[in-house]
Amino acid sequence: MVSLAELARERLAGRRLIYLCILLSVTVPMIWKISFKEHASPMVKNVFDQVESLPPGARVLLVFDFDPGTEPEIKPMSDAFTRHLCLKGAKLYCLTLWPTGPVEIDKVIRNVLTPEFPDYYYGADYINLGFVSGDEAIIAVALTSFQKAFPTDAHNISTSDTKRLPIMKWVENIRSFNLIIECSGGYPGLPEWIRYAAVPGGVPIVGGSVAVGTPELFPYVPDQCVGLLAGLKGAAEYEQLLLERYPLLERPECRVALDRMGPQTVAHLAIILFIIIGNGIYLSQKRRGRVGT
């Protein structure tokens, strides 16, 4: 008969123990709602300052290029950007180049814009331009003619109909915007908007990206892209800055990334511990002559 201790030793050997530790390091902070204060990096501060410097009525292109898979990282960013822009009184032009993007735009309108900013009216203060297929080709068309690239909004109203959509009156092309904000889960994403819209159009651009994709985007910062929110940590830093600047936002739905960073931070520390323990085991085994270089 195998004892419990022997069974545990056998079952928890090797990677299973690591998996168990990761499971605990993520679930315990989540259940006990452990979170930490974030200190914003200079890059996130640049993004925040860029949005904060917008005058009332500024036209901002808000792009939702992500899907449910990347939603946990990107949605807190898009929500934070939406809140910040509405607090600055900017005009929001929401669109997406991803087929799964319209769902995300609907969520932000339903869960953020409509309940939190009831004085924002569709067609006058914000517009949902929906999804258009074509990737960077559409961006290139929008550089010369926005109406050609996005002929209707998500409700099939013509974007040339400035009576029903007065927000479209002064929008001719990409150059008509004060800022582009790209929430990017992959391709097409920030590099395409930088190359085909922001740089040729001379419009500043800021972005948010999944953590694994941000190393590829650093070459664009700060010359072509003002700043970048890197993954969940970037979103949490942005939320922290938003809460410090606008204390009225201190409520659970405005600190989603901050709350999620608790488990991520603890998991990072767990991995650091694994690295230390792993090297300790490796060096002691090497000293005993069991392992070569």
Binding site: R59, A140, K169, W170, V171, R175, E216
Partner: protein, 383 residues
């Protein structure tokens, strides 16, 4: 609401110095309209809310609106100007209900240009690098033996096939998650061709689960030809190349399960990967398979380096087929790539030196040389 101008004047100043000209380096159909801002369009006065661009095809004819831009803008590209027709333009400043237009300018017509001179640098670099590759291919085909450094990953692949032959275990080949339009997939298929020839000769089962139907069709043909060339057409099994899913994690679930059940001796990952690369590599680690990966996806390289035994990074993946085939033309192409790298290193070195000198030394010559070198590598994305 329009602000009243400080001077108290009620009439709006029109835009100044309106110019119109054909958009260069395009297929016709576009005319550029530029102007100087209305004196009432300033940060202090803020009277002007925008500009309307109007056009007519007849002198003295009725103008129609072709575009609107916001205040502060000084350029508009009319992309609806039919080539060959002459147009007249005027630009109208708007301030609430008030408008004031510039005098009409024209006539101008859009024409197409045969050559897009904006892209001269791409042509130059393309000819230089492409020419080098073709030249080295030609030298290789004439019999010259180029020396190339060894790649541990390639040697590991050959050993893995030998070990699989001895143990009777299959080998898995995963050609990446992109479709046939991606060059990484094509490079992966080149490697599959070489691997399948060896596995067919050594009587090793090769499984190639697929993300995309077109890649599946090409992989299937590759495997069939490999068995045919090895004289083992009867051993070819059409179920060895099969479609799983084009959804990332659907593929991981399917192939991960197969790997656990079939216990391959080795797993080769060649192509474009995203998150599924790490997931599959870790499953492969669990079952103790030898893993060799090759990808040009920079975001995934670190994950594959930690999870696989050998990784061919970036251009090494494109070179893998040359290593495996030892074909003179393929090896020649590798040397052409090396020439390109030499050019890149030289340009970076010279460019850094010129940029430093331009910054430190008060001389227009270095600034001119630096800007000249920069212009060769600039890629504007306009029309």
């Amino acid at each position: 609401m329009a602000a009243v101008a400080e001077s108290g004047a009620s009439s709006l100043a029109p835009p100044q110095e309106v110019r119109v000209y054909d958009h260069p380096n395009d297929n016709g159909g576009a005319i550029i309209v530029t102007w100087q801002k209305s004196p009432d369009d300033t940060a202090e006065h803020g009277l002007v809310t925008g500009y309307t661009i109007l056009r007519t095809s007849r002198s003295g004819g009725q103008f129609e609106v072709v575009g609107r831009v916001g205040a502060g803008t000084i350029q508009f590209v009319d992309t609806t100007a039919e080539a060959g027709i002459f147009f007249y333009y005027k630009v109208e400043a708007e301030a609430g209900e008030q408008t004031r237009a510039s005098p009409p300018v024209g006539p101008v017509s859009s024409t197409f240009q045969w050559i897009n001179w904006n892209r001269w640098n791409r042509l130059l670099l393309g000819l230089l690098l492409g020419g080098a590759v073709v030249a080295f291919i030609h030298i290789g085909q004439r019999g010259y033996k180029f020396r190339i450094r060894k790649l541990p990953g390639i040697e590991a692949m050959e050993k893995a096939i030998d070990q699989a032959a001895e143990s009777g275990q299959p080998i898995f080949f995963i050609p990446g998650s992109e479709d046939l339009s991606d060059l990484q997939t094509i490079a992966g298929l080149s490697v599959l061709e070489q691997v399948s020839r060896r596995t067919a000769r050594r009587e090793v089962d090769l499984r190639a689960p697929q993300f995309h139907s077109l890649v599946m069709a090409a992989s299937d043909d590759t495997l069939y030809h490999a068995y045919h060339e090895a004289g083992r057409s009867s051993a070819y099994n059409r179920d060895d190349v099969f479609y799983v899913s084009d959804e990332q994690f659907g593929y991981v679930a399917g192939v991960g399960g197969l790997m656990c059940r079939e216990q391959p001796a080795a797993c080769f990952y060649f192509g474009s990967f995203r998150a599924e690369g790490l997931a599959l590599a870790e499953v492969g680690q669990t079952i103790g398979a030898l893993q060799v990966a090759g990808t040009a996806e920079r975001a995934q390289i670190p994950f594959l380096v930690t999870a696989c035994d050998h990784v061919l990074i970036g251009e090494e993946m494109y070179a893998a087929a040359a290593y495996l085939s030892d074909d003179p033309a393929e090896v020649g192409a590798l040397k052409g790539q090396d020439f390109g790298k030499l050019l890149a290193v030289g340009a970076i070195g010279v460019g850094c030196l010129l940029a430093t000198l331009a910054h430190l030394v008060d001389s227009e010559v270095f600034v001119m040389l630096r800007d000249g070198l920069l212009s060769i590598f600039e890629t504007g994305t306009g029309r």
